[in-house]
């Protein structure tokens, strides 16, 4: 894997949503296969990352991301497989340590993950956890996960799970180098603080809200990253989301996407498409408009390392989502060139397994964390 200043990719929620123009919803089987088809297409057009959400309730299908990512790993050779997000609150950190280390070996290192707390309160009791403990669970579970990937014969005691004595999670991370971790949040300064403390990445899923909120959150993460001695604020690892629907002709994009926008589960039946595109990262228009909007993110948040787009939601048919990726592939060289231009050499490239192995990240992190 060569170094890339900013990785581009897609992230999928994995929702089963009826196509509002036909009323037809895909089956779970069709949706799962469609997610795989999108991942393969993402590699084909030259994207760097495919990330899957984790959900445990209808209308969502991806309850078992490492199973899906393992399957995709076997059918790809270059793309990084990630999550958006892995639930650090309700999954046992021992199982996360093992599942992602296994995936790392199978995918020859093409693996990282984004930790989050999910969007569904009731998920906590489904896994025997207390919803009131969301942030404390995220903190304690990750502290253990971090330790399990870096130490053997772990003695550990905490508040939320049974103690461990001389426990070694297997397999060990590939090349003794744990997967890079992004901490995802749309709201919580505690999570920005957590990412900064460990020198991990911070992913702000900005796609549904105006930028000002995320400027504060990312600014906090960058400042605290420097506070904890990992580098300057500009050297922190930042990822952001994006959302577009493009056609060669802007009016065609608006006309085709409007029924999907108007009925979208997250924002449908609310603001107009025009207002929402003014106020959030959503772009509905020509390829040039998508390029222009995407490049504003760098102005808002500083130079960053990962850009993930949402392209398969609101009931868009797979065929349309694949066409969107073809369009993205066409503008990708421009996006890469523009994103790299004017970037100071002191801003780190996006994290990859190879680069982390070369840097001896295991030792570095043990000292710093």
């Amino acid at each position: 894997m060569s170094t890339t200043s900013t990785q581009f990719g897609i992230f999928t929620v994995g929702d089963v949503t009826p196509d509002p123009t036909t009323g037809r919803a895909p089956t779970e089987h069709e949706r799962i296969k469609a997610m795989v088809a999108l991942a393969l297409k993402a590699e084909e057009i030259g994207l760097d990352v495919f990330a899957s959400g984790e959900h445990h309730n209808p209308p969502f299908v991806p309850s078992s991301p490492t199973t899906m990512l393992g399957f995709i790993a076997a059918r790809t050779s270059r793309i990084i497989l990630s999550t958006s997000t892995t639930l650090i609150t309700t999954n046992d950190p021992v199982k996360i340590a093992e599942d992602f280390a296994m995936l790392q070996h199978l995918a020859d290192g093409r693996v990282d993950l984004m930790l989050g707390r999910g969007n569904t309160g009731p998920v906590y009791p489904w896994f025997g956890k207390d919803i009131r403990m969301g942030i404390p669970l995220a903190i304690e579970n990750y502290a253990l996960l971090h330790q399990l990937w870096r130490e053997e014969n772990v003695d550990w005691e905490g508040r939320f799970r049974t103690p461990l004595q001389s426990f070694t999670s297997t397999p060990r991370p590939l090349d003794d180098t744990p997967p890079f971790v992004w901490h995802g949040s749309i709201r919580s300064p505690e999570i920005a603080e957590q990412a900064a403390y460990y020198g991990d990445g911070f992913f702000a899923n900005n796609i549904f809200w105006p930028k000002e909120h995320f400027q504060r959150l990312i600014g906090l993460y960058r400042d605290r990253y420097a506070h904890y001695g990992h580098g300057t604020p500009e050297q922190a690892y930042v990822g952001v989301g994006g959302q577009f629907f493009m056609r060669k002709n802007s009016q065609d994009a608006v006309r085709e996407f409007r029924p999907y926008f108007d009925n979208a589960p997250v924002y449908g039946h609310g603001p107009s498409l025009e207002d929402f595109t003014d106020q959030t990262p959503l772009t509905v228009g020509s390829p040039q408009e998508v390029i222009d909007k995407t490049l504003t993110f760098r102005e808002s948040f500083g130079h960053y390392q990962r850009q993930l787009f949402l392209v398969d939601h609101a009931g868009l048919p797979l065929k349309t989502a694949l066409e969107q990726l073809d369009q993205l592939g066409e503008i990708l060289p421009t996006l890469r060139a523009e994103m790299a231009s004017g970037r100071p050499s002191t801003v780190p490239d996006a994290p990859t397994h190879a680069a982390r192995v070369a840097a001896g990240s295991r030792d570095v992190e043990e000292v710093s964390a």
Partner: protein
Amino acid sequence: MNIVVVTAGLSVPSSTRLLADRLAAAVGDRVDGADLRVIELRDHAKDIANHLVTGFPPPSLREALDAVVSSDALIAVTPIFNASYSGLFKSFFDLIEPDALTGKPVIIGATGGTPRHSLALEHAVRPLFTYLHAVVVPTSVYAASEDWGNTDGLDTRVARAAGELAGLLTGRAPSPRPAEPELIPFEAQLAALRPQRSAN
């Protein structure tokens, strides 16, 4: 002193707006340097619904919410619909963070077609602002249709409420902007989770 008047009347002209203006004028007469601003929720009706759907306010609503939160005192007036505040009024205050009105002096007022709904102010509107930790003056002002047709009662209540608000504002420094929540350093968050061992 920045005093913001929030009025949820729907018609033009509106008796709710009329009551809001009477309250505002009475407060203006009693508070030195009162800078009064009226926010008609009808003007923001779509934006309020959009905020509920998307989780963020469009720019003009953001500005209105900021004005309410940063005011030194509030006059909030709603029509009574089906025994309580109007949905538009409640939806607007649903967009206020629960601690954003802490300590803020407030006059509550309401209008309705019949005096039989007057206690809705006490069983619906006052608890809302109490929940938000605002300081609601003892006199709430209800105006039924018949109150606009006679001279006794309403003016007295308006004057009493305004006087109570002015009393709360006397000698009071203008409200500071709500503080950003304090960041808890990560070591402290981790330490709070360490098992407590009893010494033995």
